[in-house]
Structures are given as C-alpha cells and as structure tokens.
Symmetry: C2
Subunit: 204 residues, 2 copies
DNA sequence: GTCTATAACCGGATAGAC
DNA sequence: GTCTATCCGGTTATAGAC
C-alpha cells in the first residue's frame, strides 16, 4: 500500500481512537491496532506520535471548516427574501448542527479533545487561536451571503456576530455531551436565532 | 501532618498540575512533587491515582457550584426593583464571570480537562451528567431570586432559561481560551443579557 | 507518616530480517 | 513496505526501613 494511503488510514484510525479514549488514550500502539498495522508501519509513515497529532489537528480544522461552509451554503441557497428567509436559514443551519452532534457525539468529543491538546501543546497553540479566527471568518461570510440572498442587512459587522454563533455551537455541543438531552440544545438554538434576528436591519 | 490535611494539599496540587499540563500530565510523581511529598505519601493518602481524580472531580463540581451561588447571590443582593435591576444584575454576574476567566484561564483549562476526563471515564460519567443538572438548578435558583428581588417575573420557567446561561458561559470560556480576546467575550455576554431581558415579564 | 528502593508494566521509538 | 524483537525511559504501585 502506498504511503499516502497508509497516512490517511492512520489519521482516520487515530481520530476514531481519540473519539473513544481521548488524545492521551491514543497511543501509537492503539492507533496502529485500529488501523490494522504494526507499530513499525506507523513509524514508517509518521516520524513520531507528535507528528501525527499535529497533522490531525490541522486536518481536523480544515474538514470542520469545509463542513461549516457547505452547511451554511446549502442553508443560504434555499433562503427566501425578507427576514423570514433569514430566520429559516438560521434555524436550519443550527438544527442541522444539532443533528450532527446527536448523530455522532463521539466526533465532537474528538474535536474538543484535539482542540484542547492543540491549545496546550507548544507549536500547535497558535494554530488553535487561528482555528477560531477562521471559524469566525467562515461564519461571518455565511451570514453575509445569507443576508444578501434574503435582501436584508445586519445592524453591525458580521465579524461581530460570528463569535456569537460559535459560542452558541460550543454551548450546544457541551450541553449535549453532558446531558444527552436534545431538547436543551433546541432551546439554545432557538434563543440564538431570536438573538440574531434582533440584529437584522430593514434591508441591505 | 494529619491525613486529612495531606489529602487536601494533594488535591490542590493535583488541580494546579492539571491546569498546567492537563489530566494526563498529572502523574502521581508530578502531583507529589508539586505537593512537596514523596510518591509513597501519595499512596498513603490515596489508594490510587484514579481515586484522587475521582475525588477531585466531585470536589471541583462542588466548589464551582459554590462560586456560582455566591456570585449570583451578591449580584442579586444589589439588584434594584424593575427590569433595570435585572439587567444590572445579569451584566454584573457575567462580567464577573469573564473577570474570573481572564484572571485565571488555567483554572478554566483545568475545569474543562476534568469535565472531559469525567465524561469518558466509566464510573464518573454519570457524575458529569449530574454536574450540568446541578449547574442548571443553581442558576435557575439565582434567576428566580433575582427576579423576586427586582419585583419582576420570567415569561417561562427558569429551568428553561438556565441552560442558556450555562451555554453562554461555556461559549465565553472557549472563546477566551482560544482567542485571548476579552472584547469577544464581552460581546457574547452582552448578547446573553439582551436575550434574557427578552424573557422578563412585566412583574411577578 | 514518611522515606528509599524496587517490582511490574506500558509507552515511544528503533534495528534488522524479509 | 511491513514484519518481529528489543531497547529504554517513564509510570503506577508496593515493600520494608526508620
């Protein structure tokens, strides 16, 4: 098997192990076993465990951004004109996010675990800071596009609204992971939608 | 030194080590060194590392609840009558929370690390679920008291509003840890206050 | 109660055969 | 490229002296 393929396989295996047992539970042995290869193969592909984890952190950020972008994109595409269009778009985006969390809570566990690892690992810490800025940018973009589509405007820069959305998704994720109660998540989402609608101006 | 005193000392040391290096970095050696005792003393007081961590998780929840209760209590005590009183009380509670996060981000790192550890440790997982429920209860109580004090009411059960507050604090914490930008936290707090004020009824 | 010393184990990483 | 075998450092936990 070519190195590139093995590399991908190992990254996916590592992510699954992290989802179950956290970053510190993701030993080189556990990852290799999950991928069905031996320890030597691991080290043939990656120089070290740290090497794999760094790759996984950047990859995780990128795929997460792609997910956000498509989620916002499809929701925005279906938006009708007027504030009602924005409302529906926001509702669908957030309930779509909740669907994702409920369908695969372990994925979120893994993302949180990786974020935390990055934050307290020198060399990856700046990357974590960047990660949030990129989330903010992506969401600000989505809000912009959606408003254009609906023919409305925001009463302040979307760069100031985006952090509210990210904070809401973080709050939703932690609420679900800790309580496993979707109703609570739906309430947080509903409140977030109301909040954002309060910042919709008459028209662009 | 009596066992009870050593126990407390070791728990505090463990918390500090976790704040710096995470739960997995909190080895028995590191904790013992931080406390200025040897490994054997550790095992004289605690049966095992797992034993200490379990104790720390429950203790962490309790102290956090106490912090919340007093923060809400003092903020509520100073509240004037009418919706304006509620607004000030909410603003002060949240900006006080942000002050705490900014003053000691590592403490929050430790809380997050412990919460995550509890969630994926069998035997402690249920405790994590309980933890959030207790936060909800404490905050619901605080909202109730504050409304009484201000002579107003909420347009729905405070049990439904409390998760919004917890989600907001989670969002604030993660925003700060990842961006180190207090301005963003203040915006999230301000939005949360506005959101909650939207649920204040005319009077109780 | 607290120490030093050590047993038993697990983790990352490498050597060398194939 | 992938394997088996091994080294080595670090970790939990315990034994036994004081």
């Amino acid at each position: 098997m070519p190195v590139e393929k093995r590399r991908e396989l190992l990254l996916e295996s590592a992510f699954r192990v992290i989802a179950r047992r956290g970053v510190d539970g993701a030993t080189t042995r556990a990852i290799s076993a999950e991928a069905g290869v031996t320890l030597s193969t691991f080290h043939y592909v990656f120089e070290s465990r740290d090497d794999l984890l760094a790759a996984l952190v950047t990859r995780g950020t990128d795929t997460e951004l792609a997910v956000i972008a498509t989620a916002l994109g499809t929701a925005a595409a279906g938006a009708e004109r007027g504030p009602g269009g924005i409302r529906i778009m926001l509702q669908e985006s957030l309930s779509g996010y909740i669907d994702g969390v409920v369908a695969d809570p372990e994925r979120e566990q893994a993302m949180i675990s990786l974020n935390q690892y990055a934050r307290q690992t020198s060399g990856l810490a700046e990357l974590g800071a960047n990660m949030y800025q990129r989330y903010y940018d992506a969401i600000a973009d989505g809000l912009e596009v959606a408003a254009d589509q609906a023919g409305v405007g925001w009463d302040r820069p979307t760069a100031e609204l985006a952090p509210l959305v990210v904070a809401a998704t973080d709050g939703i994720t932690l609420a679900y992971l800790n309580t496993r109660d979707r109703t609570i998540c739906d309430r947080i989402a509903e409140a977030t939608v109301t909040l954002l609608l309060g910042h919709v101006g008459d028209h662009h």
